[in-house]
């Protein structure tokens, strides 16, 4: 099975029904994508397929319909994505385990809605759990990223 992850073509010898989450983590060693629940309830495994946020625990390897981007492929280390810059500016992360998924979801939100209200943010981000309760700073960071991206 061949898939493109972060711009690189990979061949994987795994059953087609293996969720993309585990194909990435255990098959390719791409660990920025996280396991939190396995049933699309927490959002820790959020990645992009063709630029759209999806829960990688729910996509079978054999059904992967496009190019995969994980947090590792969102930006290069010298030029972080504006969402990542905003995350750092607001010091959002605590334990940090959910933040890859939060960031990937936020990037998708801003690609569709460049100026989200608090309510828009709540609606889109409520599928991503954070047990450290970083929600207020996530909200602030998304607003900051939105203005950075609008001004860019």
């Amino acid at each position: 099975m061949d898939i493109i992850v972060n711009g690189t073509l990979h061949s994987l010898d795994l059953p087609d029904d293996t969720p993309l989450l585990w194909a990435l983590r255990d098959g390719l060693g791409i660990t920025g994508v996280k396991y939190g629940c396995g049933i699309a309830q927490c959002g820790a495994c959020t990645i992009h397929i063709d630029g759209e946020a999806v829960r990688s625990c729910q996509v079978a390897l054999g059904d992967t319909w496009g190019d995969v981007t994980t947090i590792e492929g969102l930006s290069d280390p010298d030029t972080l994505h504006p969402v990542q810059q905003a995350w750092i500016a607001h010091q959002v992360a605590q334990c940090g385990y959910c933040q890859s998924g939060q960031i990937m979801q936020a990037v998708d939100l801003l690609s569709q809605n460049p100026a989200p209200t608090d309510e828009d943010i709540d609606q889109v981000m409520s599928g991503n759990l954070c047990r450290c309760g970083t929600y207020p700073r996530i909200r602030e960071a998304i607003h900051t990223a939105a203005s950075m991206m609008r001004e860019a």
């Binding site: 795994l14 059953p15 293996t18 969720p19 989450l21 585990w22 194909a23 983590r25 255990d26 098959g27 060693g29 660990t31 920025g32 994508v33 996280k34 396991y35 939190g36 629940c37 396995g38 049933i39 309830q41 927490c42 820790a44 947090i71 590792e72 969102l74 930006s75 280390p77 972080l80 990542q84 995350w87 750092i88 010091q91 992360a93 605590q94 334990c95 940090g96 385990y97 959910c98 933040q99 890859s100 960031i103 943010i121 709540d122 609606q123 981000m125 409520s126 599928g127 991503n128 759990l129 954070c130 047990r131 450290c132 309760g133 970083t134 929600y135 207020p136 700073r137 996530i138 909200r139």
Partner: protein, 755 residues
């Protein structure tokens, strides 16, 4: 007593006991007498100046003895060293320390002493001053109880100062200049002519230098780093997917294990049939590890599928099969004549309650209940392990690495010296990663899979429905009210024992005899700074039920709910404003000030629009007085939390922005549990398994939270836990103010609808 006086006395006490006890822990002697765990791993030209500072030609590493589980402790502890060492946080690396007695946590021991935090008496101060001594023997290296900061506050600054002065001594020897002429700045010794000698160049000679005197610590007025908000040292890694948790450890040839524990917590496996599972693609082994079954495969997914194909025969549950049965056992303990502790007994409660019949005082009484709770850290439990050539290596996000090493050795049946523990970042802790089960189980797997590295993962379902849990508990009070104030308050509480649970599971640093009272049962109930003439607090320990352990803020999670809802009920009966009445009763100045602060922040007493209401709560918890106000609104979709205000006194605020983050985190953790979290049983099995039925707070439910940090309290304290206990009572009191319904059991969401 001033800070200086306290310090001098403590040093004296430690030195005097050291002579008698054979263990010396002092600033001037600890390099020689407590084995520095870094020394063995050093190469030529490298120096470990204290257990907290390692300098090589490549750079400077600060070793933090506490686990980074989100609370920002790597940053704060590194700041303590950096302040004295004169290095910039951006220029140093920060690592978890290996298991070692040198990294003991004196703060945890102090928290267990039977003196309330407000007690500044000579005896209480004496006990606090001696706290380090038993900790060394017990080799505590525990992260918990919001103790990391005050344990490290002097130790790590002193480590930085010793390292700095040692490097200056090396520079003085090399240059022939007097030490007094040398300065330090940004990782270098600066000569009078401006020449800079980098610490990394001086380090090779530093190991031979013995300082004559312990350098003095810089006064607060000269701080450059401490007291100011710092960027977290892990924030970039955690915003780019590069932070490594235990579940991200990848080793050549690694296999992936998933565990299936008994669906009856505490139960064990009688037998199982793995024939079908072993025939599945990618599945390499199905192991019997005594208490559970572990499938090992080429992916975690294949191992999960394999476990579903195994047929199991589990031993039946040994506890009541349903939730009500558990509360019956706890209620029986409460009704018994066998208190576990009675740490407060002011005045004569019996006489005051009896007298109420004749003196016209109003008597009120009520019973409160809280359910078992899961921790649900975002990262499910995991540990990587490799056993080869007689050595066992374990990578785990553990809150207690020294105990973890002992337990891994025991589980593997090998000597402790053959075990190495590497502490990774923790994907949330909240007490769950103070448990040893995932380390013990990873060790058992590694022994059976000799030569193959295995990453052991708990599924979310296993983690949620097998425990350990925050105990279920019952609180009961009876009070008399006269002339606007309580005259007598009799509070009692009962729950299964956390200490016994942890002790029996091998999580305790030293065996705790059953006879020792479990002060976590009465934590934050007996030591509240209210001056009430007749005031009695009694705690009862029920028979063991489900496995129970530490959960963020421990006993305070239930006891502050009991106590502060009680205060609201008393205020209502007394016809008093709940803030005013508390202020009349509180006898501790920093405590009064946090309550005044939160009332001012929220503009308490202002008239609210129709459909809005507020509740207040106060708690002195882990030494930090904390007050909280929660505002709610009735909406067509249910009750919505519109704002929360929290004020806490931590004595010395080392990093204001991180303290803000910790208080917000604590409040949300508490509000989450108060609204929707519960663990219940039927047919002996836990009914919740994952985030679809264990209802953790989501973003749309998270209110704006305003924080304020005060610095009036006499000791420095941590803030990881103090935000949590007041959340449930403040919310419950707000619901009463809004609806008139006094809800006396959690979660509140079982009784009212939340948006």
């Amino acid at each position: 007593m001033g800070k200086l006086g306290t310090y001098t006395r403590r040093e004296f006490l430690i030195a005097s006991v050291a002579v008698a006890g054979g263990v010396v822990f002092g600033v001037r002697t600890y390099r020689a007498n407590l084995k520095n765990p870094l020394t063995a791993a050093l190469g030529p030209g490298e120096a470990a100046l204290t257990p907290y500072v390692k300098i090589t030609a490549d750079g400077i590493t600060i070793i933090t003895p506490r686990a980074e589980m989100g609370q920002g402790i790597h940053t704060t502890l590194a700041s303590l060293v950096a302040e004295e060492l004169d290095v910039d946080l951006a220029d140093i690396a920060v690592e978890h320390g290996p298991p070692s007695a040198a990294y003991f946590n004196g703060g945890v021991v102090e928290e267990g002493y039977p003196f309330p935090a407000t007690d500044q008496s000579a005896l209480a101060e004496f006990a606090r001053a001696q706290r380090d001594i038993p900790a060394v023997f017990l080799a505590y290296q525990i992260t918990g109880g919001s103790t990391s900061t005050h344990d490290a506050y002097e130790k790590m600054r002193r480590a930085g100062a010793i390292a700095r002065e040692t490097l200056k001594a090396v520079a003085a020897t090399r240059t022939g200049l007097p030490i007094a002429d040398l300065k330090t700045q940004s990782g270098a010794v600066v000569l009078p002519d401006g020449t800079q000698l980098a610490y990394t160049e001086l380090a090779a000679d530093a190991a031979d230098v013995e300082l004559a005197d312990a350098p003095a610590l810089r006064p607060k007025s000269e701080w450059r780093i401490l007291g100011k908000s710092q960027d977290r040292v892990d924030v970039v890694a955690k915003s780019t997917g590069r932070a490594i948790y235990a579940s991200d450890i990848r080793l050549p040839g690694m296999r992936f294990g998933v565990i299936r524990r008994s669906p009856y917590p505490i139960g064990t496996i009688r037998c199982f049939d793995a024939t079908e599972a072993l025939a599945m693609p990618g599945v390499e082994a199905v192991l019997d590890i005594g208490t559970a079954v572990v499938a090992v495969a080429t992916t975690t997914w294949a191992a999960m599928q394999a476990l579903d194909a195994v047929t199991y025969d589990w031993t039946p549950p040994t506890y009541p099969a349903d939730t009500e049965g558990h509360f019956d056992v706890i209620a029986a303990a409460l009704a018994s004549n066998r208190p576990n502790s009675r740490q407060r007994d002011d005045g004569d409660v019996e006489a005051a309650l009896t007298g109420a019949a004749t003196n016209g005082a109003e008597v009120i009484e009520a019973e409160y209940r809280v359910p078992y709770l899961a921790h649900t850290t975002m990262e499910p439990m995991s540990a990587a392990a490799l056993y080869q050539n007689g050595s066992l290596q374990i990578w785990a996000g553990t809150q207690g690495p020294t105990v973890a090493r002992r337990e891994a050795a025991k589980a593997a049946g090998i000597e402790e010296d053959a075990v190495t523990i590497t502490t990774t970042l923790l994907g949330g802790g909240f007490g769950r990663r103070g448990e040893m089960d995932f380390v013990q189980n990873a060790a058992k797997v590694a022994i059976q899979m000799e030569g193959t590295p295995v990453l052991l993962t708990y599924s979310r379902e296993d983690d949620t429905s097998r425990g350990p849990y925050r105990p279920a508990a019952i609180g009961r009070f009876k009070a008399t009210v006269q002339n606007g104030l309580p005259v007598a308050v009799d509070v009692s509480t009962a729950s299964p024992s956390i200490l016994k649970g942890i002790n029996d599971r091998g999580g305790s640093p030293a065996s705790i005899p059953d006879i020792v009272p479990d002060f976590t049962i009465s934590q934050a109930l007996w030591d509240q700074p209210y001056g009430i003439e007749n005031y009695r607090v009694t705690a009862y320990r029920s028979d063991p039920l489900l496995p129970v352990g530490f959960w963020r803020s421990v006993g305070a999670t239930q006891n502050s709910f009991f106590h502060e809802c009680m205060m609201d009920e008393i205020a209502l009966a007394a016809g008093r404003d709940p803030v005013d009445m508390r202020l009349d009763l509180i006898t501790d100045d920093p405590s009064s000030r946090v309550l005044e602060a939160v009332a001012e922040m929220a503009d308490w007493g202002t008239t609210l629009p129709e459909g809005r209401a507020r509740g207040v709560a106060f708690a002195l918890v882990f030494g930090a007085p904390t007050a909280q106000i929660v505002e709610i609104e009735q909406t067509p979709r249910g009750i919505r939390i519109t704002h929360a205000w929290v004020a806490a006194d931590v004595g010395v605020a080392l990093d204001p922005r991180n303290l803000d983050a910790q208080l917000i985190s604590g409040v949300n953790y508490g509000l989450s549990a108060a609204m929707g979290e519960k663990i219940t049983l039927s047919n002996g099995m836990v009914e919740q398994s994952n985030f679809h039925d264990y209802l953790a707070m989501r973003m749309y439910q998270a209110p704006p939270i305003t924080t304020r940090i005060l610095e009036n309290a006499p000791h420095i304290r941590g803030a990881g836990e103090p935000g949590t206990p007041c959340a449930a009572p403040a919310l419950a009191n707000a619901v009463f103010a809004l609806t008139g319904d006094r809800i006396r059991s959690l979660p509140l969401g079982d009784h009212v609808a939340f948006d």
